[in-house]
């Protein structure tokens, strides 16, 4: 099945003023293989993709496509040679149909007008080839994220892509959608399409890839056959140091109930009841759309409760807006970090002190010294890597941005912290740090609710797991009874 070299990078370097993004990188891809690329954030993966897709030109080195050597590529040339990229952010137009999106830029015309019929027919063929049922006339906006991604893939292969680059394709998908995407990757592979698969998630690398290459600090480290390696070894290669254990263990057991949710209804969820204890990490599992984030919004007060109540520290929690929840000691680390967690264009200091600004002010006048000392305290304790606390947050990596979100809530000294997908888009090393921080917080007696679509993380971190399905409780599982299968069956509403 796996044939000759289809693409070869020869001693590629890419220098930016003051930065070496790629450093003498040589890598070889074989026809028909699924080749995973792993590396921490900032390792140079995206620069490498951009070199292949022609978005940037390398400072040094050459690219060899099927024996033909280029010193640089243009996006057009790269396409012509059969290379297509599926980026993390989709490039679809939501108001147009699936078929129109697939043929965007190369519309099939019937004289002056669009030949919709022909485009729809060909789209249907493509979907059939991918073994999925999508109506080519459906508006992209009406499709789920998973289907949107399939449209994106169909768009890529409609142009006879021989080499498909997928940049973290599973990141926006739900568990069941991920499985569907795996099958599409398998199918494309059967068709002889070469796939470069970039991912942070170890389980999918082992599920899908034939070979794995590791990149670190812009340098090529090694390539191994996937079935001859294991997770620990890969992580070690990526971070260049030994990580003791994937999920650190905690010392202190949970003590007393701090929050008691009963028959909570509103914002698309119904009749949710559970207890939350001090010192525990309560996992929240379920498919995307099961109502986990929506439930968190109710507890945080950013959406209205229709009925049911929350007993918090022995008192009913009566709130209409999130400032009241924040005051009561509830914090939320949102799923969409860049939109809801941080203000990208403001400094680390401004972000960290945002919720607690009134506390470090007198008569509404900000106390600069306290502001600085508070920020520096959390910069140290959470190890936010930055040259200065005056650095804008948009210049930080995902992991460090997440630490900024954490810092801003820790400065409020909360009792309940809700983590919504705490490690999404964060590299392995930083993930470990976030896990350690979460465990330390639980050890200090904080109650943590963790929403996660990453099954390993959910199983590894949680003391108990609440599973939601279609806005309702599907069950609560204790640590001992938790298995991936049980959570999935409950989440699918089959138990």
């Amino acid at each position: 099945m796996i044939g000759d070299t289809i693409l070869k990078l020869n001693h590629i370097s890419k220098l930016y003023p003051g930065v070496t993004a790629l450093d003498d990188l040589s890598l070889e891809f074989r026809e028909g293989e699924v080749h995973a690329i792993v590396g921490e954030n900032g390792a140079g993966k995206s620069t490498m993709i951009k070199t292949i897709s022609g978005a940037i030109e390398p400072t040094q080195g050459t690219i060899e496509i099927e024996g033909e050597t280029f010193t640089k590529l243009t996006p057009h040339l790269s396409r012509q040679k059969g290379i297509a990229v599926i980026y993390q952010e989709f490039t679809l137009v939501p108001v147009l149909s699936a078929a129109e999106n697939i043929f965007m830029g190369e519309f099939i015309m019937n004289g002056m007008v669009l030949n919709r019929k022909e485009m729809e027919r060909r789209s249907a063929e493509l979907f059939e080839r991918l073994n999925v049922k999508i109506d080519p006339t459906a508006k992209v906006a009406d499709l789920t994220t998973g289907f949107q991604q399939i449209v994106e893939i169909a768009k890529a292969i409609s142009k006879d892509a021989k080499l498909l680059i997928m940049d973290e394709p599973s990141a926006p998908l739900t568990i069941s959608e991920v499985e569907a995407m795996y099958q599409i990757v398998d199918r494309l592979k059967e068709d002889g399409v070469t796939i470069i698969y970039i991912s942070h998630r170890m389980d999918e690398i082992f599920r899908l890839s034939d070979r794995v290459s590791v990149i670190r600090d812009g340098k090529y480290i090694t390539t191994v056959n996937t079935d001859e390696t294991n997770k620990q070894e890969l992580i070690k290669l990526m971070v260049g140091r030994e990580l003791s254990e994937t999920y650190p263990r905690r010392k202190n057991p949970a003590t007393e109930t701090i929050m008691s949710v009963s028959k909570l209804t509103g914002n698309g969820v119904k009749d949710i009841s559970f207890d939350l204890q001090k010192g525990e990490i309560l996992g929240m599992g379920g498919l995307v759309g099961a109502g986990r984030t929506e439930l968190a919004q109710l507890i945080f007060g950013s959406e209205k409760i229709v009925s049911g109540e929350i007993i918090y520290k022995g008192q009913p929690l009566n709130m209409k807006q999130c400032p009241q929840a924040i005051k009561a000691g509830i914090s939320m680390i949102p799923e969409d970090r860049k939109r809801h967690g941080v203000i990208l264009d403001m400094t680390i200091k401004d972000n960290v002190t945002m919720p607690s600004l009134q506390r470090i002010s007198r008569h509404r006048i900000i106390n600069r010294n306290r502001e600085k000392s508070v920020t520096e305290e959390y910069q140290r304790s959470l190890q936010i890597k930055t040259p200065s606390i005056e650095q804008k947050v948009k210049n930080l990596s995902g992991g460090n941005q997440q630490k900024v979100v954490l810092a801003k809530w820790l400065a409020m000294d909360p009792d309940v912290i809700i983590f919504d997908e705490p490690t999404r888009g964060i590299d392995v090393g930083a993930k470990q740090e976030i896990y350690q921080i979460m465990n330390d917080l639980a050890d200090q007696g904080k109650a943590i609710i963790m929403i996660s679509s990453d099954m390993e993380e959910l199983l590894g971190m949680s003391d108990r797991i609440v599973v939601l399905c279609k806005g309702r409780m599907a069950g609560v599982l204790n640590r001992e009874e938790c298995t991936q299968e049980r959570i999935l069956t409950k989440a699918a509403g089959e138990e």
Binding site: G18, V19, R339, I343, R364, I366, P387, L396
Partner: protein, 325 residues
């Protein structure tokens, strides 16, 4: 010095210096001290209004009604003083209350209905215009107490205009609010990312309301000073001031997309616009050509702002990644 050169306002300051040198060479009258005090008198109103205007811009809004707010504030204050014969200080107070009230109404409609600020304030502009003409019937109101007129025309020690002192005071208050208080910080937060601000516990509605209220308040002070300087109230007086404020702010680096800018920048922007107007007038340039130039200045400023933003970000990001690794 290095810090000064790197600061955001430095580039704009250089434009101002270049303009002054240009007009200085082009016309000998321009460089006289008296002319500079003239300019300061002329820009006092725009300057004061721009402080409030930049608050609104920073929160991500806009207030196009500023021009006719000035007109209505002026007309109402004049009627209070002249027709009703109230004490001038009381009349001014009523004018200021009115201005603040209009700002708050703008803000209230915007935060409660979520209609785009551009549309709300554009409608408000037309409403205010109508009301002001209803009051004056298109005629001018004049003759005010001497003590009042002195606010706009008087000087201290024979040279420093009193209106300049008001301008400086408002600038200091503006800088204080924006840099030292929690409200200023919230203005930036809302302008940059309203969702994240809300989820951090910021009372977004209240803060937005405040920005529009302050804008109305500062505008009324600017209006009253203008009334005192002109010694005559007409409904057409404020026409076009929203454009001058917007130009001054954007030229001074206050982003029309919200979240960026400083009071000092906005004031340098005012000076640029003021020097340009004054210089062109001294050089006897046709009035209509002046309009064309003013429009071009705003357009160029917006283009420059957008382009330099894109460029800077790339360089900074690469530097930061470098440090992190």
């Amino acid at each position: 010095m290095k810090k000064l050169v790197k600061s955001k306002e430095f580039g704009v300051l250089m434009v101002l210096v270049a303009l002054i040198i240009f007009f200085g060479i082009a016309s000998p009258q321009f460089m006289k001290a008296q002319n500079f005090f003239n300019i300061s008198k002329q820009i006092a109103t725009v300057g004061i209004c721009s402080v409030g205007f930049c608050f609104v811009l920073i929160t991500g809004g806009i207030d196009l009604s500023v021009g006719y707010q000035i007109s209505l504030d002026i007309v109402v204050t004049a009627v209070m003083m002249n027709t009703l014969g109230l004490n001038w200080a009381v009349a001014c107070l009523i004018g200021m209350l009115l201005g603040t009230g209009i700002g708050l109404v703008n803000g209230l409609i915007i935060v409660e209905t979520h209609v785009a600020p551009l549309i709300v304030t554009l409608s408000m502009m037309t409403i205010l215009k109508g009301i002001s003409y209803l009051i004056t019937n298109g005629l001018a109101i004049f003759k005010f107490p001497d003590a009042f007129v002195k606010l706009g025309q008087g000087t201290i020690a024979g040279i420093v205009p009193i209106s300049l002192l008001f301008l400086v005071a408002i600038i200091i208050i503006g800088i204080f609010i924006l840099n030292k208080t929690v409200y200023g910080r919230y203005f930036y937060a809302i302008g940059n990312n309203v969702d994240a601000a809300k989820l951090s516990g910021v009372n977004v509605k209240k803060i937005q309301l405040m920005a529009y209220g302050l804008c109305g308040f500062f505008t009324s002070i600017g209006a009253i000073l203008m009334l005192a300087r002109l010694n005559s109230a007409q409904s057409s007086t404020g026409d076009g001031y929203e454009f001058n404020c917007l130009t001054a702010c954007v030229v001074g680096g206050v982003s029309s997309n919200g979240g960026k800018g400083t009071v000092l920048g906005a004031i340098i922007g005012c000076l640029i616009v003021g020097v340009l107007e004054n210089g062109l007038a001294i050089m006897n340039i046709n009035e209509y050509i002046q309009e064309v130039i003013k429009g071009l200045v705003l357009l160029v400023a917006v283009i420059y702002d957008t382009m330099s933003l894109l460029k800077n970000e790339k360089v900074k990001k690469i530097k930061a990644i470098n440090v992190e690794n």
